[in-house]
């Protein structure tokens, strides 16, 4: 089965800093990739997704992610973070042939005002 690794457990940034959160997956076939965000006390919300086509995908709130197939990576980026981006971020993957969405352990982002 596929698995997902998020190497940064807790990231602390100041407002206006640039953000990059790493996500690597292990599966050799076709994958669908997602980033979800969970604000404190809330449910998960979809930030962006990649199914096919342009490997650079743009999501809500200024986030983007790049799928690099050769590196099995789908890193999340934002050029300038805001205090309101403080949340936990989850990378997830499904394969083309099953419904089993696997999540990474999550990265907690703290943005200092």
């Amino acid at each position: 089965a596929q698995s997902v690794s998020q190497h940064n457990h807790h990231v602390i940034l100041s407002e206006a800093a640039s953000l990059e959160l790493g996500c690597n997956y292990s599966y050799g076939g076709t994958v669908n990739l997602f980033w979800y965000v969970q604000y404190p006390g809330q449910h998960l919300q979809l930030l962006l997704k990649y199914f096919s086509g342009d490997p650079l995908v743009k999501g809500i709130k200024g986030f983007e992610a790049e799928f690099i197939k050769s590196k099995f990576s789908f890193n999340l980026r934002k050029p300038s973070v805001q205090w309101s981006d403080t949340a936990e971020y989850f990378c997830a993957v499904t394969t083309a042939n099953n419904n089993d969405m696997r999540f990474g352990a999550g990265t907690r982002l703290t943005v200092k005002p």
Binding site: Q6, F34, Q45, N99, D100, M101, F103, A105, G106
Partner: protein
């Protein structure tokens, strides 16, 4: 936000008691899922359903059962709760992964504490 509700939102129960969590959707989506969220593990799939009366096991199904008698409702049952089942439980829905609609939408969660 997708029309997903979960009940109860919070529950404290004793070891050995049965517990049923309910997920209700108003989107008429075919697929429904139950996850548990634990620190350091992200979300892990417990069971999912791909139609009325059609269910399958996920990554961490031991100690849990599910039922889906109507499209809109998906029940998760802990037959005899244990302290290791203390967690936050999320329900999710999706349209039809087989037709490209892979994203899942999540409910507000149920915080379960087993003492």
């Amino acid at each position: 936000d997708a029309g997903i509700t979960q009940s109860p939102r919070h529950k404290v129960t004793e070891t050995g008691t049965p517990v049923t969590l309910r997920c209700h959707q108003t989107e008429n989506h075919r697929y429904m899922y139950w996850y548990r969220q634990d620190p350091g593990h992200g979300l892990r799939l417990i069971h999912y359903s791909y139609g009325v009366k059609d269910t399958d096991k996920g990554e961490v199904s031991d100690g849990y059962s599910v039922s889906r008698s109507k499209t809109e409702d998906f029940l998760l049952t802990l037959e005899s709760a244990t302290s290791s089942q203390t967690s936050v439980y999320f329900c999710a829905i999706s349209q039809n992964p087989g037709q490209g609609a892979y994203e899942q939408y999540f409910g507000p969660g149920t915080r379960l504490t087993v003492t």
